[in-house]
């Protein structure tokens, strides 16, 4: 009998404590960030709107290798490779369907030339669904994005116009395989 009464009194006491604790919350500052009025701080590594960057010389970084399109889990990237007169590869078209994109960042990880990068911008709502399909002109920026010094063709061994075999950074001149002399 007494234990039952004690248990009931404890239940009532716990309700009163709950009421008191919840009431004290009224004096605390709200956690809400009033977004359209106050912009929240977006971290530099936030995975938002996708851009295509250029190398320090101002050329397109993308070499149209299709690794991003392969890595994409929702198949939202479409591109076609072409080649200019110097032998540089670049995409003829590069199309991302942002209505399918899940901002996973796999394309950025897959990219061997740091061309495709995700930015902290997230305000991408559109009124027309067709406007969510972005072309290369919409995504290409004039800067280098997060990696300022990287220039793929300066490092890679591939010969293009203006840079022959063995002229890349950290690269030795090609060996004459027909000579046996050391």
């Amino acid at each position: 009998m007494l234990t039952v009464l004690g248990k009931q009194l404890y239940i009532i006491w716990s309700q009163i404590v709950t009421l008191w604790l919840v009431f004290m919350h009224i004096f605390k500052k709200a956690d809400t960030v009033e977004y359209p009025d106050v912009m929240p701080y977006m971290f530099p590594r936030w995975r938002g709107r996708i851009i295509l960057s250029r190398d320090p010389d101002g050329e397109e970084r993308c070499v149209a290798c299709n690794l991003c399109a392969v890595a994409c889990p929702v198949d939202c990237i479409a591109l076609q490779k072409t080649e200019d007169e110097n032998g540089r590869w670049y995409p003829e078209f590069f199309r991302i369907n942002f209505s399918r994109c899940i901002m996973c960042g796999f394309c950025e990880e897959a990219c061997p030339t740091h061309a495709i990068q995700l930015t902290p911008d997230f305000e991408m709502a559109e009124y027309v669904r067709q406007d969510m399909v972005w072309e290369k002109e919409d995504m290409l920026i004039n800067g280098t994005g997060k990696y300022h010094d990287y220039n793929f063709y300066k490092i890679a061994g591939k010969a293009i116009g203006g840079k022959g075999k063995g002229e890349a950074r950290n690269e030795l001149p090609p060996i004459d395989r027909r000579s046996l002399l050391p």
Binding site: T18, L19, F23, H25, K29, A30, E34
Partner: protein
């Protein structure tokens, strides 16, 4: 005659009706805002200053929605059910004394009138649940009927102590008697606690919203309702909360009379101010209860009602009656 502060004058009727409806509309916004503050959010703050006009936006949305009656529903009761609550709750507000010479009706059975009206309010949930022809609605209606009828029993008994002490059913005379003898919370503390709990259950507010129970029976008796029909249920609930919040000060906290002699010189202004202040405190308390407490199971609700509250309220009436008799002799 028309523009005097006499009970039942047209000026009083217009003022009180307008105040009640306006307060109800504001209450919907205020509750959401307070719930936000209690959970460290901001609540609706976009429409107008501090979001005051949120309820008007909501009403605009509800009115412009399609007024749809499901083809499987029982048409007449389905349409009548949501109208019952607000009407009945407004009628029960009529007997509540706001200030000396301010009120709509001065009924000598005012307390009984409120209970009669609250009893009719149960029909709303019952009819709504039954007419919807939906198993969840039926469950909600059943729960509402069971809960309201069983909690009404000792809601009535719990305030018999107040009636015995003040020797009247007239709310105005109860307030006057408290002015003479002190607030009735102190001699009638058990009755007061039981009345608050039963009142919460009677208005189907949290934590006794088993009739709605969104998580279990998908809003219960108003599952099939949409648009302004749903809005009427909603408004009715808030008017009920307002009636309850105004009734508790009248019965237990001295009505329009100021505590500690903090009256203003003007009796009517002072009455209105203190009545509003006390009602406001209770509204905040009910919102706090909604924010803090969890819903009991239905069998727990019934057990507490019949096995704890009913005996307690009966003992309260017996003891109060015995004491009054002993003092009278």
């Amino acid at each position: 005659m028309w523009f005097e502060f006499v009970v039942g004058s047209p000026l009083n009727i217009v003022l009180i009706l307008g105040a009640v409806l306006g307060a109800t509309v504001l209450l919907i916004w205020f509750e959401r805002r307070m719930l936000g503050f209690f959970s460290e959010r901001l609540g609706p703050n976009r429409v107008g200053p501090w979001g005051i006009f949120q309820s008007f936006a909501d009403v605009g949305k509800l009115i412009t929605k399609e007024d749809w009656v499901p083809p499987f529903a029982d048409r007449l009761p389905f349409i009548v059910a949501p109208v019952i609550v607000p009407v009945v709750m407004l009628l029960s507000f009529a007997v509540i004394p706001v200030a000396p010479g301010m009120g709509i009706m001065d009924l000598n059975v005012g307390l009984l009138w409120i209970f009669a009206m609250a009893g009719l309010g149960a029909y709303s949930a019952m009819l709504g649940g039954l007419a919807s022809n939906n198993k969840f609605s039926l469950l909600g209606g059943l729960r509402a009927a069971g809960q309201m009828i069983s909690y009404e029993v000792f809601m009535g008994i719990s305030i018999l102590g107040v009636v015995i002490l003040s020797d009247s059913f007239n709310l105005r005379e109860i307030v006057e008697a408290q002015h003479k003898n002190g607030w009735y919370v102190f001699p009638q503390f058990i009755g007061f606690i039981i009345f608050v709990i039963a009142g919460l259950a009677e208005t189907k507010r949290w934590p006794f919203d088993l009739a709605e129970g969104e998580a279990e029976i998908i809003s219960g008796f108003n599952t099939e309702y949409s648009g302004m029909k749903f809005g009427l249920f909603f408004v009715g609930e808030y008017i009920g909360m307002l009636v309850l919040s105004a009734l508790i000060p009248v019965l237990f906290f001295g009505g329009w009379y100021a505590p500690f002699g903090l009256d203003f010189p003007n009796a009517i202004l002072s009455g209105i101010f203190w009545m509003c202040a006390k009602t406001f405190c209770w509204i905040v308390f009910f919102i706090l209860v909604r924010a803090a407490l969890v819903r009991p199971r239905y069998d727990q609700l019934m057990n507490y009602g019949w096995l704890v509250m009913l005996p307690l309220s009966l003992i309260n009436v017996l003891v109060t009656g015995a004491v009054v008799l002993a003092q009278g002799n």
